[in-house]
């Protein structure tokens, strides 16, 4: 059957089982919007800014594991989307972005709303395509979904000129595609897997370090089984939270710049480190030279060979799909008669217990001003740890990561790699659409929330009853913290002046707004808010302006050179 390029685009989405497209129309995509109008299989969510379309689609992907889809027009539509594309790229999120382009004869002539989309997005996509003729469209779409969702996932952009979306072609969606230049490894090298298992069984001070790859690779079940079986301590990165259950005694907390004392020390002093789907980035291991100063053997399992030995040289590299590799490891382990040295392990746990005794996440619970940590703890309690939590970027993000004990994957959605303020609210929308019956909470700050606040309108239109937890400290808190610690208390441009009345603002969008000023009101307000199942509730908590996130490893410092609290400043 002959279909227009626009119809083909939508039929491809349908064939991929896409439920939602997050987007914003404009001239170059009018044919595609027309094709959307005449069908009811793929639902379009009209956001209020293209950045939000990307974040919402991205969060949909993070929460479900299926590629998120966004649709934007040429020129400003694309440039507005770039922040969202880069956010997804840095966190390896599978997405397909469809962008309109000026008609092919106009390309290169500085036509109205023309930008070099393929050029602008090249450094922040896994791959991109410019479709030059309608006959290539269906295959290109198939390739886009294939590349986005296999191997190390990532965003793939398909740029469709307006005339291509108008021209007619026979529609035939291929069942599969093979690309001679793209075939991600699946199975790890058996010899390396055996070497890894031997090394793990010889360890006296082992440590397991789990990153976002374990979640992306749906390997958290295998991670948990392996760690439980071995009796080893385990830490998750910011992106890995939920991969290993935080409520388990073998979990030593998140590691890194704002990681726990015990996680960072165990990371530094272990003798065998098993890194799973993680990338040893600067926020996680601090200064690599300091990290090297302590000898340890490293096993690194990752789907992306370029992540291995990039910042830290490893001893046993294993490239492969995490669940495959971990299953193989488990099989070898089950078959082996050897067990980890019990006495050594006991000694190591004793040491870790002492580090834990520092109680590094303690804070002042008798404060008359609301402590942000207290709000996050209450959020955890009131939702019984059962909410999907999205976050923006700043101190509130770190407190959410520290005080919410995630027990399962894909329920903590945050921008870890790019650190994009504005992510939280649109991400909550994407998660709520993916799981309409779940509780979705967005932990944010008064600065971050204003970067995509217009999405309160989208929440209204599509009845997305997300709960906004605004930790309002009237500061770009994380910036203020760095200025206090690293720039001699010179608070340059970090005070958030002229704030709106968030309660009235929420109300004007048709939502419920609440301001909470006293610690005693935190829990009751939250209970009331979460009881309003079908409403957006914007909770504006007036929190302590001077609170800092601890522990803290200053940028460039060693992982164990932690500031533990105000007394260290």
């Amino acid at each position: 059957m002959q279909l227009s390029g626009a119809e083909i685009t939508i039929r491809c989405l349908e064939a991929e089982g896409v439920e939602y497209v997050f987007g914003y129309p404009g001239g170059a995509v009018l044919h595609i919007y027309d094709a959307l109008f005449t069908q009811d299989k793929v639902r379009h969510i009209l956001v209020r800014h293209e950045q939000a379309a990307l974040h919402a689609a991205d969060a949909y992907a993070r929460a479900t594991g299926r590629p998120g889809v966004a649709l934007v027009t040429s020129g400003p539509g694309v440039t507005n989307a770039v922040t969202g594309i880069a956010t997804a790229y840095m966190d390896s999120i599978p997405m397909v972005i469809i962008s309109g382009q000026v008609p092919t004869p106009a390309i290169g002539l500085d036509a109205f709303q023309e930008v070099d989309t393929v050029g602008i997005t090249r450094p922040c996509v896994k791959h991109n395509f410019l479709v030059k003729q309608v006959e290539d469209l269906a295959t290109t779409m198939k390739k886009a979904f294939h590349v986005a969702s296999t191997g190390r996932p990532g965003p793939v952009l398909v740029d469709i000129p307006k005339d291509v979306s108008q021209h007619m072609a026979e529609f035939l969606y291929p069942d599969s595609v093979s690309m001679r230049s793209y075939s991600p490894a699946l199975r790890g090298d058996p010899a390396a897997i055996q070497a890894a298992v031997d090394m793990l069984l010889e360890a006296r001070r082992p440590m397991v370090y789990v990153g976002g790859g374990a979640i992306l690779g749906n390997a958290s079940g295998q991670v948990t089984q392996l760690v439980k079986d071995l009796g080893f301590p385990c830490t998750n990165t910011l992106m890995g939270l939920g991969a290993y259950p935080a409520t388990d005694p073998q979990f030593v907390g998140m590691l890194g710049m704002h990681g726990t004392y015990e996680a960072n020390l165990a990371m530094q002093h272990c003798d065998v480190l098993l890194a799973i789907g993680a990338r040893f980035d600067d926020r996680v291991i601090g200064n690599p030279r300091h990290f090297y100063s302590e000898g340890r053997r490293i096993i690194h399992v990752d789907i992306d060979p370029s992540s291995i030995s990039k910042r830290v040289r490893v001893d046993v590299p294993i490239v492969g799909d995490l669940s495959h590799v971990l299953r193989e490891m488990q099989t070898l382990l089950d078959a082996s008669k050897k067990r980890p040295d019990d006495a050594a392990l006991k000694e190591w746990w004793k040491q870790i217990g002492e580090w834990r005794g520092r109680n590094c996440l303690a804070y002042d619970r008798s404060s008359a001003i609301i402590k942000p940590q207290f709000v996050v703890e209450k959020l955890y309690e009131v939702t019984r740890g059962d909410a999907i939590v999205t976050s923006d970027v700043g101190q509130h993000q770190m407190w959410a990561a520290q005080y919410i004990n995630l027990t399962s994957p894909r329920r903590w959605l945050n921008s870890g790699g790019l650190g994009t303020m504005g992510f939280g609210l649109p991400a909550a929308m994407g998660a709520q659409l993916a799981f309409p019956d779940e509780t979705v909470a967005c932990v944010t700050g008064e600065a971050s929330i204003q970067m995509c606040i217009q999405e309160l309108s989208t929440c209204k239109q599509y009845h997305l009853p997300v709960k906004v937890i605004n930790l309002n400290n009237r500061y770009l808190g994380m910036v203020r913290q760095w200025q206090q610690i690293l720039h001699g208390n010179r608070y340059s441009e970090s005070y958030m002046d002229a704030l709106p009345d968030f309660v009235k603002l929420a109300e004007s969008y048709g939502h419920v707004g609440v301001r909470v000023e006293n610690p005693a009101d935190v829990e009751p307000a939250m209970r009331e808010a979460f009881a309003l199942k079908d409403r957006v509730v914007f909770m504006d908590f007036m929190t302590d302006q001077t609170e800092n996130v601890f522990p803290m490893v200053k940028a460039g410092q060693g992982l164990t050179e932690m500031l533990m609290g105000a007394e260290d400043l």
């Binding site: 393929v118 050029g119 090249r122 450094p123 896994k126 791959h127 991109n128 410019l130 590349v147 690309m179 001679r180 230049s181 793209y182 690599p288 030279r289 090297y292 992306d304 060979p305 370029s306 030995s309 990039k310 910042r311 830290v312 040289r313």
Partner: protein
């Protein structure tokens, strides 16, 4: 990655899809990640869907390993070989226009002959010389020439190929 080694010159040979964006993806990767490019050549192969690219770069073993991995990760790149890993041949083409008047005309001709170059264009006042060889041979020729006579040089950058049965195919 902590680097203690001296950077070394490497010749990377790539097969990539002969598509419009492929070159900019490779070039973009080098600039975005701060890798060094000494030269880059590219042209289609006997299979018109494939291009062959030679990149001359330098870096420590670790950096070269990263470059190779990152190149392999590009969707348009079909294969990457580090020619330094085996016996290989490197050739570059250079065109040099020299001022050739009066007495030096003969002297220039002799130097060209020594380097097995060819004079491919002659005017009353100039010679245009064609020379192929490994990079150092071309460098040596330029050094042997009196700088005052060199009007223009055009170099293609190195192309490389493995020796004997070492064959790079898709």
């Amino acid at each position: 990655m902590e680097d203690h080694q001296q950077p070394m010159r490497h010749i990377l040979s790539l097969l990539l899809e002969n598509e419009s964006g492929a070159l900019s993806r490779v070039a973009g990767l080098f600039s975005a990640r701060g890798y060094n490019i000494e030269s880059l050549t590219v042209a289609p192969t006997e299979d018109p869907t494939l291009s062959r690219m030679t990149i001359v770069t330098s870096g420590s073993e670790e950096v070269i390993e990263q470059i190779t991995k990152q190149l392999n990760k590009l969707i348009d790149v079909v294969k990457v070989f580090d020619l330094n890993e085996g016996r290989h041949i490197e050739r570059e083409l250079m065109l040099v226009k020299v001022r050739a008047e009066g007495v030096v005309r003969e002297e220039i001709k002799r130097t060209v002959d020594i380097f097995r170059g060819r004079i491919i264009d002659v005017t009353e006042k100039t010679y245009t010389v064609e020379l192929t060889g490994p990079r150092d041979k071309l460098d040596a020729f330029l050094e042997a020439m009196d700088k005052r006579f060199i009007l223009e040089t055009v170099r293609t950058g190195s192309s490389g190929i493995g020796r004997g049965e070492w064959i790079l195919r898709a």
